[in-house]
């Protein structure tokens, strides 16, 4: 019953007051509070209230025992009196009891049970243990000292911690200011001046081309020998004893015959196809130039369209080394044949690769990497189809240029190429270039190697190349015709082809004839390169 609860509360309050009064001996209630509280009077009033409530309880007991009807009006009257009395006491206590007394505002059945626990100022057992442990840690070192010194030490510690916290907060605030201050500024990143940015951009381009295209990673042919020991994972993979077609030897073959096509030139098969078509149309064997069948084979020219791009890409030192190497090998026919085959392969590889590149690059007229290596000649786009007129022009020029054949290789080749630049056909230029250089079998073999790469070009046989292989050099015959037989080898081919109405479907017939002629041509691919390069840009105009 509420009255009972109220009584309990009052008892609690009284107990608390008594407890506090018990401690008064040490602490002592504030005299003013004491006066205000008027403990005595509050005590008597609480006691009388308690008595009144107990009287009501007894009455209820009696009624319950006798089962008589309670006189509700009387009981209600007593309740109201009790209520009033309680209210007065609480009011008095409220004024002064805020410091040390807590009394619940609303007590009902729910919280009656838990109230004592909540009102108790004693900690829960677990919390008490924790508290003790921490206190122990804190005061462990100072237990021997007096309380005052302990207090002082604790104060010092607290001050230090406070100072550390303040400085940390300060640092955080400063950083935050700087962060927010600069973040809204125009430059978010540390400023890099233009020179640095340009350098970084350049490096980035280097890296990207190296990763995606392999630029700058290709080892020149002459260095492609396994000099030091193979790394562990390659030892049993690479059989050094493999033939020339082995993985490792591919570079070696490059050394011998083919100019390094590492810097693949952008070569469009489409252009070559068109070129070949045009060439075929315009191909009239300009057999004015006499050439020895034993010397440079027409294959040189055949390869030139493709190799022209390739040759242009080859750096000159590589060309020179190729020259030297090729000269050394001229005396070994078998080796030459092999080399020619490899050259062709290499040539074909590169043009194909270049063609791929071109397709991917959408036939930009941007400078082609590697072309710049050649005498700084302008780089060309080989994707433009050639008109028949160009071919005819070439043929005429070929006659004129025929005199230039056999002369100093690079320079004259370049000069001639400039003349020939009007011809956009890479094949023509290649033929011219090959013709201009001293006819050697290498040239022909190179050309033949280049030609086969244009497998899309119809009816071009690479039988001429190297004389040992019947590669499907599509434009060999066409090219050779256009070049007007700059090379002796070419001339022979042209002559032979004339019988075929310009369609060189039977190049194989010529291969045998040209084999001899192709042999000595191994040393000239380099010479053709600059010329090719030059020819192309002009030709495309």
């Amino acid at each position: 019953m509420e009255g009972v609860v109220v009584g309990q509360d009052q008892q609690q309050q009284q107990q608390q007051q008594q407890q506090q009064a018990g401690r008064v001996m040490v602490e002592g209630l504030n005299p003013a509070v004491q006066q205000q509280l008027n403990l005595e009077s509050v005590k008597t009033r609480a006691v009388s209230l308690f008595k009144a409530i107990s009287r009501i309880l007894e009455e209820f007991d009696a009624i319950a025992r006798t089962n008589a009807l309670p006189k509700w009006q009387d009981i209600l009257g007593q309740f109201s009196m009790v209520n009033l009395e309680l209210y007065n006491i609480v009011e008095d206590i409220k004024k002064v009891s805020k410091a040390f007394v807590v009394h619940p505002k609303n007590v009902n059945a729910e919280n009656a049970a838990i109230l004592p626990v909540m009102l108790s100022s004693k900690l829960l057992p677990e919390m008490e243990v924790e508290d003790n442990v921490k206190r122990e840690q804190l005061l462990h070192s100072m237990q021997n000292l007096s309380v005052a010194s302990q207090i002082e030490k604790l104060k010092v510690r607290i001050d230090m911690i406070g100072a550390a916290c303040e400085s940390a907060e300060k640092v955080i605030a400063d950083t935050r200011k700087a962060y927010f201050g600069t973040r809204q500024g125009p430059t978010l990143l540390p400023t890099i001046d233009k020179a640095q940015a340009a350098k970084i951009q350049e490096q980035e381009n280097l890296l990207r081309t190296a990763v995606n295209l392999g630029e700058g990673l290709r080892i020149p042919g002459d260095q492609r020998h396994i000099t030091s020991g193979l790394p562990g994972h390659l030892v049993d993979v690479l059989a050094v004893a493999d033939g020339p077609q082995s993985f490792a030897d591919s570079s070696g073959t490059y050394l011998k015959n083919t100019p390094p096509f590492s810097s693949s030139n952008v070569n469009s098969q489409g252009a070559l196809l068109q070129v070949s078509g045009a060439l075929r149309a315009a191909a009239s064997p300009s057999g004015t130039t006499s050439f020895d069948t034993t010397t440079a084979s027409p294959l040189q020219h055949v390869n030139s369209p493709r190799s022209s791009a390739n040759m242009m890409n080859t750096p000159s030192p590589q060309q020179q080394t190729h020259q030297q190497q090729q000269q050394q090998q001229q005396q070994q026919q078998q080796q030459q044949q092999l080399q020619q085959l490899q050259q062709r392969q290499k040539m074909m590889q590169l043009p194909q690769h270049q063609q791929q590149l071109l397709a991917q690059q959408q036939l930009r007229q941007a400078s082609i990497p590697g072309l710049g290596q050649l005498h700084g000649q302008p780089q060309m786009q080989f994707s433009q189809p050639l008109g028949a007129q160009q071919f005819q022009g070439r043929q005429l020029a070929s006659g004129a240029l025929h005199h230039g054949m056999g002369q100093s290789q690079l320079n004259q080749g370049n000069q001639l190429n400039r003349h020939l630049n009007q011809f956009s056909s890479p094949m023509n230029t290649a033929l011219f270039n090959s013709a201009q250089s001293t006819p050697t079998s290498q040239m022909i073999s190179n050309m033949s190697a280049m030609m086969p790469s244009q497998t899309l070009l119809p009816r071009m046989q690479i039988g001429m190349s190297g004389g040992t292989r019947n590669l499907a050099a599509a434009n060999l015959s066409d090219q050779m015709f256009n070049m007007g037989g700059n090379n002796p080898g070419m001339m022979s081919i042209q002559q032979q082809q004339q019988q075929q109405h310009g369609t060189f479907a039977n190049m194989s017939q010529n291969t045998q004839n040209l084999q001899q002629g192709m042999m000595p041509l191994q040393n000239t691919p380099q010479q053709t390169h600059p010329s090719f390069q030059q020819q192309r840009p002009q030709g495309q105009q």
Binding site: L207, F247, Q349, L456
Partner: protein, 193 residues
Amino acid sequence: MECVVQGIIETQHVEALEILLQGLCGVHKQSLRIHELCLKSVPNLGLVASGIRLLCDLEQPQPTWTVRHVGGPMRGAGAERISVLMRPMVESKVSKNALRLLLGYKLDHEQLRVGFAFHFRRGTQITVTVSSINKILKLHATDEAVPVTPGIQLVEVTAPASSENYAEVVASVSSFCEYIALAWQDGVMAVPQ
């Protein structure tokens, strides 16, 4: 197909990037040391030239080989709408004899990649690779490789995709790249320099 985003980072910042990526991806890095051999087809092998790459993972106790073919980038209207690069890619594990068996291919160039990679899932399987590309001066001399660009390393974010789900892959890759970029900027800003 795969979705690729390539970027660069200065070598001095690679460590910070590693820590950042570890936090973003939630996985530990995997060290990377791959000898990549790029082969080009010989003539007459087909209508068009082709190139494949042989990757030898040198980080494992036993070198493992992978053959990989990468095609040209996806082009067209669809490609222009997305900010990342999509290209066909086919990969397969092979034995060490692959090199010998690829008769129709010759070495075009080779490189050595050294770095680390994070593989995790964020909408789709994403791999972030930070590596330094080293060129091999002498044929196959992987121990004597020098970086192509000493001060810069390559950062690649790749995710496999198919033609059906490439839109989602593109979305998650590009959002992750933006995430990295923002986090990197914040990191750079927060560190007092």
